[in-house]
């Protein structure tokens, strides 16, 4: 499968998916760590892709949504943003609402 199709599949088959460096249990970058902690605090399970263990995704994710940096958070197939935007939404309480709505929609 083409790498962009693989990314698309991840984005579209998961209500919440985080492309990050490392894993939520063992993040390899401070920005990825902070973003996954914010997501964890929302209290719902979320999917993640460790871009360090998939060089093809690492190389190509930036052109998927024309977003140059990691991590990247997608909710309901839409790019929410990276660490700074996620933290901003988290601090305003909006992240929780978005995640709950997305996860709730699926079940």
């Amino acid at each position: 499968m083409d790498v962009l199709d693989r990314i698309k599949e991840q984005v579209e088959s998961n209500p919440v998916v985080l492309f990050m460096k490392g894993t939520p249990q063992m993040p390899q970058c401070g920005f990825s760590s902070r973003t996954s902690e914010a997501l964890k605090s929302c209290g719902h399970e979320f999917a993640y892709v460790n871009v360090l263990s998939d060089p093809e995704i690492f190389e190509n994710l930036p052109r998927y949504a024309d977003w140059p940096t990691f991590p990247q958070l997608y909710i309901n197939s839409e790019l929410v943003g990276g660490c700074d935007i996620t933290m901003e939404l988290h601090e305003k309480g909006e992240l929780q609402t978005m995640v709950s709505a997305a996860v709730g929609n699926k079940s």
Partner: protein, 105 residues
């Protein structure tokens, strides 16, 4: 010109910010001394009025496309309108510590 100065100049020109700070945070990461790889940018501009965060970040990512495709590895963006900046009293979140995943050499 340093990359830092280059980033400052591009943002200054395009967004006429009322406040702009470009901090080189490369020393916090696993890169050689005097690197210009990790930056934290705080921009306060009326140009952001009515724009959601993703749009503001996209504006900056586009503006700094060449830098991001080249030496700049991490770009932390804090984008506010003058009113939002006043509300925050100039308080900006500190960048997180490096956890080693940066592959810049």
């Amino acid at each position: 010109m340093t990359i830092q100065a280059d980033i400052e100049q591009k943002i200054q020109y395009a967004l006429q910010p009322t406040f702009l700070e470009v901090a080189n945070e490369s020393h916090m990461h696993n890169v050689p001394p005097d690197s210009e790889s990790h930056f934290k940018v705080t921009v306060v501009s009326a140009e952001f009025d009515g724009k959601i965060l993703v749009a503001r970040h996209r504006t900056l990512n586009a503006l700094l496309k060449d830098e991001l495709a080249g030496p700049v590895h991490a770009l932390s963006l804090h984008t506010m309108t003058p009113a939002e900046w006043q509300e925050k009293n100039g308080e900006i979140r500190k960048s997180p510590p490096c956890l080693g995943g940066s592959k810049a050499s």
